[in-house]
């Protein structure tokens, strides 16, 4: 049995747990905890260690989706989670400009762990306040070849599309390495 993994990362409350929940065949094994700090109390619970979702491909192949905790004090988990990943998704809450800088930092940190492909999901595009993906591209200073995708994590089709775009990028990289 081969297991491959992809990491879903991004700032606090970007929608990582929701994203995994929309496509995972098991209920997300989430290590959530009620929020105590007042500053972070914009929602009821937050991920403290990681989220864990699964998509079975066949008897011999399974894809795991790992969500990182969004809060800074759990950074030590990132390195561990990133080991051996096939690729990663950086989720950004497009309605919260105060988190864009943090998103950029997370992106850079994960890039320094591995040169695996990644895509950026401009999440919560269903909200009226959402900033446009192309504006986020500039703000996050994404290289032209990095995909930034409009995303609504509550919508399964949108999550599928994000994962597929990541997989296409992975395929492209493999093909380039093999010189095809």
């Amino acid at each position: 049995m081969q297991a491959v993994k992809m990491v879903i990362t991004g700032p606090f409350s970007a929608g990582k747990t929701q994203f995994i929940g929309s496509v995972s065949e098991i209920d997300v094994v989430s290590t959530e905890r009620k929020i105590s700090s007042v500053a972070e109390k914009v929602k009821e619970s937050t991920t403290v260690a990681m989220d864990f979702g699964r998509i079975t491909v066949g008897d011999d192949l399974v894809l795991y989706l790992f969500g990182t905790p969004g809060q800074r004090r759990f950074d030590f988990m990132w390195d561990i989670l990133s080991q051996g990943m096939l690729g990663f998704v950086v989720m950004v809450d497009s309605t919260k400009p105060e988190t864009f800088r943090e998103a950029k930092r997370i992106l850079e940190t994960f890039e320094s762990y591995a040169s695996t492909p990644f895509v950026v999901a401009a999440n919560k595009q269903d909200q009226e306040d959402a900033w446009e993906p192309e504006d986020l591209r500039i703000i996050l200073r994404l290289r032209p070849e990095v995909k930034i995708l409009p995303c609504v994590a509550t919508d399964k089709e949108s999550v599928k599309n994000t994962l597929l775009e990541l997989l296409y990028s992975i395929l492209d990289q493999l093909d380039q390495e093999n010189g095809n």
């Binding site: 192949l61 320094s112 762990y113 591995a114 306040d129 900033w131 192309e134 500039i138 597929l164 997989l167």
Partner: protein, 278 residues
């Protein structure tokens, strides 16, 4: 779509940078508890700015500030200005040979710049960008390249902590961005900056450039920060957050976690098929 928020989270520098790079057209309004300001842009160029109440005529005041009119002259003109636009007043003043057209352009330009530079120091305030909203035809607008505005504004943000925060690592190298429209000659560089620019090269770290030019850490940070914000240069290797240093050292090399050869093309193709079918 929405481009709004608070300067606390998204600074004037970042906003102008975005407007410049995305070549936006429209008006940016900023509102604090005590003050308000508006700036207008056409295709990424700053064309107009004012602070406080905008009744569309303040040319007399602007010309007084720049020393082209005396206080009395300005007052007389202002009292006759009711219902007239800045453009009309400017036209009358030029026809009457009180000032030249160039006086007006230079004075308005300086006023716009002074207004925008003040905004760089606002740490707080709600902002919103209204795409395609522009000042009426009676306003005197002057197109100004945002690159040099951003550089000068950034220079005025001299706080050591901000620079320290933005540029923690002086051991990275710089290169010029390959944005085709980033033309050095459209940017006003000081002699010091030109010297730094002449050293920009993937082989030179920021620290080495500073040393070669006898610049303090603070000075080089200030200059490099300005150039980064204007999109003139970028890091060759993104600086790593300080905390990651020892971990990456512990790993044999970067890329150790790349997809192992065990991940075959066929595996990725199967994943694609599976997710398509979800």
């Amino acid at each position: 779509m929405a481009l709004k928020g608070n300067l606390r989270d998204f600074s004037t520098t970042q906003l102008l940078n975005l407007i410049n790079l995305a070549r936006k057209t429209g008006t940016l309004s900023i509102q604090t508890d005590s003050e308000s300001a508006q700036m207008s842009f056409r295709e990424g160029k700053l064309i107009y700015a004012y602070m406080g109440n905008n009744n569309g005529n303040h040319l007399a005041q602007i010309l007084q500030n720049s020393g082209k009119l005396s206080a009395e002259q300005a007052q007389v003109i202002q009292s006759h200005a009711e219902g007239k636009s800045d453009k009309e007043i400017g036209h009358l003043l030029v026809t009457a040979r009180r000032v030249t057209q160039n006086d007006i352009i230079q004075s308005v330009r300086q006023y716009i710049l002074d207004t925008v530079y003040k905004l760089f120091t606002w740490g707080e305030g709600f902002f919103r960008f209204d795409a395609n909203k522009l000042p009426g035809s009676g306003y005197i607008t002057i197109p100004i390249d945002l690159e040099s505005v951003i550089m000068e504004g950034s220079r005025r943000l001299k706080e050591w902590e901000i620079l320290q925060d933005e540029l923690p690592d002086l051991d990275v190298a710089l290169r010029f961005t390959d944005r085709p429209d980033a033309r050095l000659r459209n940017i006003n560089l000081t002699v010091e900056e030109w010297r730094v620019v002449s050293f920009v090269n993937p082989r030179n770290s920021i620290r080495q450039i500073a040393k070669a030019n006898n610049l303090s850490d603070f000075e080089i940070r200030r200059i490099v920060y300005g150039m980064l914000q204007a999109g003139l240069v970028e890091f060759v290797n993104q600086p790593k957050p300080a905390a990651d240093k020892k971990e990456s050292a512990a790993r044999p090399q970067k890329g150790a976690a790349e997809p192992s050869p065990a991940v075959k093309r066929s595996v990725v193709v199967r994943l694609i098929d599976r997710i398509r079918g979800l």
